[in-house]
Symmetry: C2
Subunit: 355 residues, 2 copies
């Protein structure tokens, strides 16, 4: 299996709606993909289980079957969103974090763009957060001991040269494709001089790595401490083009950027590895609105577009993105997160009409 489009007569897409509004927006993305007709190979969808509800039913958040089928039968996948228990539950562990690791989807690519500044979006936001997706505090190596002063818990934050180099390459490659070709390395090396020091230096080295053979010469590189980065993101988002960050900083930064464009309901992502890609809206399972039919399907439709683009189906991806842009700009058919009154289905229909 590979990411190449060659010789694919059908496109096998794993669908993992998981919890909450994931069950509403992933089916919408499916319908949008189906509407692309001959721009992509005939899609075949394989519904797969994961999530908190799966855990409460079957005692496992990420069934082995799901991973196995993704690995052996799917060309790509779409993941919805997971709910978390409100208290620690023995044996439960986030399936999305596990999936990213299992499939070695080492990059989480999150473009954030203001399409319609007049609709309350900060103008001039056009950036992509490239988040390392397999390590940092997400290795989940934690332990707790009891001392005479009470409980003490420790977590390990892992940063490796290997993972920093490959996410660095991914970020430079993305920067190259963009008009501004500007990369900001996010870290906190004034405190974490060893771990973030390694991240920052390894990413910097990609720039001039002999392997690169001058490929990245046109990319300009800046650095920014994560706290200042969040500050500047709100004050002058136009300074950022591609931001590359260790896992947790990337998580926080992409939510921060999402706030600038009006809603998390607009922001897509792909979890990308060297031979698999999984689209995933950046928003969560939104238990407060789940089941009401008013979740914004745009983040999922855009995630599908990102996924298709990465697989080489540029035309299909462009069609989805253009249709979504038009619906946002028109501003007449929007879900409540964007101060609209439309339902998930109505927004989906509006997108389908523009295709």
């Amino acid at each position: 299996r590979s990411l190449s489009t060659a010789a694919r007569s059908s496109l096998k897409i794993g669908l993992i709606p998981a919890d909450g509004i994931g069950k509403e927006v992933i089916p919408a993305a499916r319908t949008a993909i189906e509407a692309l007709g001959s721009d992509i190979p005939k899609p075949e969808f394989i519904e797969l289980l994961a999530g908190w509800e799966t855990f409460t039913r079957y005692g496992v958040a990420l069934p082995e079957e799901t991973v196995k089928i993704l690995r052996s039968d799917c060309d790509c996948a779409l993941f919805g969103s997971v709910s978390s228990p409100s208290r620690k539950v023995i044996g439960y562990s986030s399936p999305i974090v596990a999936l990213r690791k299992e499939l070695d989807l080492y990059a989480n690519i999150r473009p954030v763009v203001s399409v319609a500044p007049e609709a309350g979006q900060t103008p001039a936001v056009d950036l992509v957060v490239v988040r390392e997706n397999t390590e940092c505090l997400y290795v989940k190596q934690e332990e707790q001991i009891i001392t005479e002063n009470g409980k003490e818990a420790r977590a390990t934050r892992l940063i490796t040269e290997r993972a920093s180099r490959r996410i660095g390459k991914m970020a430079f490659d993305l920067a190259l494709e963009r008009q501004r070709k500007h990369l900001t390395i996010i870290h906190k090396s004034n405190v974490l001089s060893v771990t973030d020091g390694l991240f920052r230096e390894t990413v910097r080295k990609v720039h001039t790595f002999p392997d690169a053979e001058g490929k990245y010469d046109s990319v300009s590189v800046m650095e920014q401490l994560v706290d200042s980065a969040v500050y500047r993101l709100f004050r002058e988002p136009e300074v950022f083009d591609v931001m590359v960050a260790p896992n947790l900083y990337g998580d926080i930064l992409s939510d921060a950027a999402a706030a600038l464009v009006g809603s998390l309901g607009l922001v897509p992502s792909v979890n990308a590895g060297d031979d698999f890609v999984m689209g995933e809206p950046v928003h969560g399972s939104a238990p407060d609105i789940a089941g009401k039919g008013i979740a914004n399907p745009i983040a999922s439709i855009r995630s599908a577009a990102l996924m298709l683009r990465r697989l080489g189906y540029t035309k299909g991806a462009d069609r989805l993105d253009t249709a979504v842009d038009q619906v946002i700009r028109e501003g007449t058919t929007l879900t409540p997160d964007l101060n609209g009154k439309s339902s998930t289905t109505e927004v989906l229909d509006a997108v389908l009409k523009k295709l």
Copy 2:
């Protein structure tokens, strides 16, 4: 030595301007304190060294002498800001992080308030970030090894019941003093179930701890994942009153909140322990504007006010805060960070005139 105001004939204040604009704003805060006259005991200032410049000169970022004098001769202190080397430098380690630990200043209290919404501030921001100040990734236990796949670096994130309980108490106490009495616990326990699980549960327990004897019953408690918290901070800052967070999340959140009120140059903090308090502006050393005489002194003057308030000198603190509020509201004498044209000295003079 204690935080009580009793029997103090003079107030001994350690001054650690450190690097960059710290050397401009800390003297301004000093002048403002001196102008308070009989509202506080006669201030005596003791200038102390720390910072990157101190390191380059004397080979040590935080001289023992500085810590010793703070401990034995000072009632309180004001710290400016430190510069960081742009590459890892052997032997250099952030003096502010070290000072917080040395003096057991376990709480970093950062109030963020929009005083003048018409001046580009988001209205309805009136919150205080209560940041744990001694542990989390700031324990700086890091190591690097070389494997066959290259370098691997690890950092330890420490969360203890003891530190979580005392920061929790501090946060509940602050919430009690406020009109809304609302506390939000920030964590990421969907990933860090052990460390952030311990933080969240320990803080929650403070609410109903038998020791508290119902003291905190009037405080309402909410929880928020750190990524969503940053998102909501920008979308609906009015939902937050007191936010209590582990060290790194608190660092990021306070910069995020500062962006809402127009400038980091407005946001003060105190590093508070049970028997010492050190004011510190939230901004950094700002090498780009250092030496130009245009740094905003307000964050430092407000930090002095916070420090005095914690020492029990409410009247002096109120006078400083009221004067600063007036200057911001008038909007005629502001530094460039607030789109003004005034210098540090001009803003200081404007504040002094209102005292």
